[in-house]
Subunit: 141 residues, 4 copies
């Protein structure tokens, strides 16, 4: 799947992200990697103007999911089984990139790491590693 196809899939299957107005957009997909961009606006901020934990969690989780989706296609509904996230420094409003990199893509489990950085800044604000369970092929028939 390319970026446009994945963006259409996210809009139809993850409506809670807010579709085109929700701020999420897949901007790159490559071998073993994907980049999800979030334009963090007022709905993503806590008092004090910092991006909320659940927003960063969602960016990591969906970013990792997109990387898997790009490699095995939309029929396989991977399910998050574990996500461990470190919050490294405060993130303000504006564009954030979730750079996902597949560490393992097995038949039953996939493990993906995601570094979240402000756009144009390599210093991460958060870093996550997530595990996904991939359903058996015959369950997909």
């Amino acid at each position: 799947m390319n970026c446009a196809a994945i963006n259409r899939f996210l809009e139809s299957d993850f409506p809670q992200l807010g579709g085109k107005d929700g701020g999420y957009c897949v901007v790159d997909v490559d071998s073993g990697t994907a980049v999800l961009r979030l334009m963090a606006g007022s709905q993503h901020l806590r008092p004090g103007g910092t991006v909320s934990g659940p927003t960063l969690f969602a960016l990591a989780d969906v970013g990792a999911y997109v990387a898997i989706l790009a490699h095995i296609g939309p029929v396989a509904l991977a399910v998050t089984t574990n996500l461990s996230i470190n919050f490294l420094r405060k993130a303000g409003p504006g564009a954030l990139l979730g750079r996902a990199r597949i560490l393992k893509l097995g038949k039953r489990l996939a493990v993906v790491e995601v570094a979240i950085t402000p756009e144009g800044d390599d210093d991460p604000v958060a870093h996550a590693v997530a595990t996904y369970s991939i359903p058996p092929r015959d369950a997909l028939a």
Copy 2:
């Protein structure tokens, strides 16, 4: 702080939870523990009717935060540094309880575990362990 005081604090300082209409309510605080209740409604669900990952993340994170808050008071603004969550089985709409238990409450770090169960069911749908950095006392003056 008792439950009522904590609920007022959450409404004023965590408006993104949605206040009284957001579905979150502290229902119990005891020595080393706290229970946060979420009435999971349509805004918390993914397609298919299961509670979303960011919703469970927020329930765990705020539940753990409440347990710390109840023990050290609202002046100390604890910051989440790490949260690791395991998703164990699908959760449907209705009341969920985030049962937080403090594993360590040190001068600089607190570690809290949270089991999330449907109300009236001891089988957890998710389990998280979170670490919070507690600011130095002189930074609070």
Copy 3:
């Protein structure tokens, strides 16, 4: 499997734990739980007399493994896929208990939490959550 059977299994299949002289012993198995005891001696200590990280990791990992083993038997060779451990306070030499509790025992994945305490003290020195992949039944034939 009862405690004696599990201890025999550990001695034959985990010789690196040191067998009877290694200090590990399963002391209790119950519904959904298991307790592994380690008599921490000089080989488990770092300079300064505190129990080393790899020793606590091994106690958590083997304790969780024992809980699964007691419930599904030795034919199913569960493999650790993730282990997250929090070190809460220093542990000195002497008896440590790894109290394992199964959070989920599914067909493909098991999730187990382990609290490590000195014997006779409820305050944990470490806490871990581990995930195990359980091989498909037909792979065991």
Copy 4:
């Protein structure tokens, strides 16, 4: 500290790694990174000839510690507070590299990621993220 100085420090302060005969050696230190090499031999293997979990844990933990040590010096005794490790595929005997990369080096906390690969192979066998508490400067006087 350069590689030679760190190797001397490891031999004197981490004797349980086995010193020169233990198989561990710091082979590279650079800005924000360090590489720890382990020659995995029979003492590091489980039955079946795969490198044990505690060995991979130790390689990740010490590798991350070395990266911090190289940047703040040996006076600051950083303490591991959390380590989350994913086991991705089996590792056999031979040389393993723990490639540590600092994600955050704050005044109180450092977060380091470590990818463990066989030497000459970029496909990781394990991946860990660890957090270290850094003692206050005045505690070091």
